[in-house]
């Protein structure tokens, strides 16, 4: 089910600009891995190379190797559409489809894949909403607009939509940055449940959140404006937050970062 990701020597470009330089790391399966680091250091970029969303930006490209359980994601024979179905994504800003109801939003991914899988979707929608801890709140308004939910509910709706298609890996880019503390806790609890089934990578600016939910933390940084971002170190979350091996990491996690 859940799968591991291995990146080696990954460079990510936007046009001729090198945004991320030489990243090598391993994402453990059924694990929550947190990406932390200052703004602009390339966390989002690295995340988006993993499900081939990066190349959707005009002129963007990736060099290096990214393996999903030993399969090269960038092999010419690999269909990016299939990659994205295996590796789902939740965005910083909740982005339910505004013209769709709650139900239709969750079913959106199923409908795309439905033609290929041919399964009924009522139970799948309920299951996804239950797993996203949203079912009780929306079961009476399944056929009302998804955009009518609160921000926190919308984000859980987006999580339900992403997990409804049964991905192996879930990439979450600052999923709580637009939410209040209660909704944030709800999503953190949810992530801890989801990690039983999915491999999760979360980008966060919230150190406490990284410490609470993740088992592994990767710290990225950037030397200065116009420089490419790079991975400084990666290790067990407890270690990164108490006794990191690099001085820059220590400065950052203790809040002394310049």
């Amino acid at each position: 089910m859940a799968q591991r990701i291995e990146m080696s020597g990954v460079h990510a470009y936007y046009g001729s600009t090198l945004a991320v330089e030489d990243v090598s790391l391993t994402i453990q399966e059924r694990h929550i891995t947190a990406f932390i680091g200052p703004s602009g250091c390339g966390k989002t970029t690295v995340l988006r190379t993993m499900n081939r969303m990066h190349e959707l930006v005009l002129g963007a490209r990736v060099e290096g190797k990214i393996l999903l359980d030993d399969e090269d994601l960038y092999d010419p024979g690999v269909d990016p559409v299939a990659v994205r179905r295996t590796i789902g994504m939740v965005f910083q800003k909740p982005n339910p489809f505004p013209t769709m109801t709650v139900y239709q939003n969750v079913a959106a991914g199923l409908r795309l894949n439905g033609a290929r899988r041919g399964r009924g979707s009522d139970e799948l929608v309920e299951q996804a909403l239950r797993r996203a801890n949203l079912w009780d709140e929306v079961k009476d308004r399944l056929h009302r607009p998804g955009a009518g939910l609160s921000g926190g509910q919308q984000q859980r709706l987006c999580i339900a939509r992403a997990i409804a298609v049964e991905p192996e890996v879930l990439l979450m880019d600052e999923p709580c940055s637009a939410l209040d503390p209660i909704s944030t806790l709800a999503i953190e609890d949810l992530m801890l449940e989801l990690k039983e089934r999915f491999t999760i990578v979360i980008v966060t600016h919230n150190m406490a959140q990284a410490a609470r939910v993740s088992q592994t933390t990767a710290f990225f940084t950037i030397a200065g404006a116009g420089q490419p971002g790079r991975l400084v170190e990666m290790g067990p979350t407890a270690t990164i937050f108490s006794t990191p091996s690099q001085k820059t990491t220590e400065d950052y996690v203790t809040g002394r970062f310049g």
């Binding site: 789902g88 965005f91 982005n95 489809f97 505004p98 769709m100 795309l112 987006c158």
Partner: protein
């Protein structure tokens, strides 16, 4: 605060002036039309012939109204898929160095004068349409719309095709604009679910563009309903009530005004103005319907207000 009030006065005045002009035109049309309608010895709504200057005057809107609706709706049916397809190609598929010049070309179609379209339709399109019409009649003739008496040419079908080319740039330009405003978050949401490009278009681009497409279709329909000279040139006017789109004949309100106004007497002019009022009512109804569709779309589906 004072600037605010002054501005409010100015815009209110502007609004009132527009309403007054509209009312003045409507009143003028009605005043001109009523005497002719009084003189009419036939039922204006059901009579198909147009002989207002004979004694007794007999004229009615039936054939003209049907012809107007048929040519316009058919033109829209042809133009809508082509222009939405064009707009999708320009915004979603074509590389920039193709889409920019091609976009200009499509816009340029809107700059061609109607009379040129009319001449092109009459001289180029009509003769070339004969084999296609014959083919349609031979293979689909069992459907009444395509039935024919084996003569083809200056038909409703030809007029609709000319009209469809004329409304295409309007619909394509508006569709292109609304497709371009599709929020990137929605595009990415669809792709992140594993959508192919076409699935992304169906999930993000088309739903986002739907209210815009309705407006575009209405503008196109309005243009087709009111188009005068191109239709007058292409159709060989008659006053038959017929659904056979492939055979020569048919007429529209606007084309009939262009054809008949020059020779019209007093009652004739009033009669033509009355037909113009009917055309005005058509466009009004079409616009109201479109508005209703857009509002309903918003309310039930929660698009941003």
């Amino acid at each position: 605060m004072r600037g605010d009030r002054a501005f409010r006065l100015v815009v209110t005045a502007a609004g009132i002036v527009v309403l007054m002009i509209l009312a003045a035109i409507t009143i003028f049309l009605i005043v001109e039309a009523v005497p002719a309608l009084r003189a009419d010895r036939a039922n204006f709504l059901t009579e198909r012939h147009w002989s207002p200057d004979e004694n007794p005057p007999r004229f009615g809107i039936a054939a003209l109204a049907l012809g107007t609706l048929m040519t316009s709706v058919l033109a829209l049916l042809i133009a809508l898929p082509v222009s939405v397809g064009t707009a999708l190609f320009l915004t979603q598929y074509a590389p920039r160095r193709v889409s920019v010049p091609l976009g200009y070309l499509v816009d340029l179609l809107a700059a061609v004068p109607s009379v040129v379209y009319g001449l092109w339709g009459l001289i180029v399109l009509v003769p070339h349409l004969i084999p296609l019409s014959a083919f349609l009649a031979d293979h689909l003739g069992f459907i009444p719309v395509f039935a024919s008496n084996q003569t083809y040419g200056r038909s409703v079908f030809a007029a609709s095709l000319v009209l469809s080319v004329m409304v295409l740039p309007i619909i394509a330009a508006i569709s292109r604009e609304v497709f371009l405003t599709t929020p990137v978050e929605q595009v990415e949401a669809a792709y992140a679910l594993g959508a192919t490009r076409w699935e992304m278009i169906r999930t993000a681009v088309l739903p986002h563009g739907r209210p815009g497409l309705v407006s575009a279709a209405v503008l196109g329909l309005g243009r087709a309903l009111g188009e005068t000279i191109a239709v007058a040139l292409v159709l060989s006017a008659n006053f038959d009530i017929s659904v056979h789109i492939l055979t020569p004949g048919g007429n529209t309100i606007a084309a009939n005004i262009a054809n008949a106004f020059g020779d019209a007497g007093t009652i004739g002019r009033g009669a033509l103005i009355a037909s113009g009022l009917v055309l005005f009512a058509f466009t009004l109804v079409v616009n109201l319907l479109a508005r209703a569709v857009i509002v309903r779309h918003r309310n039930t589906l929660g698009a941003p207000r």
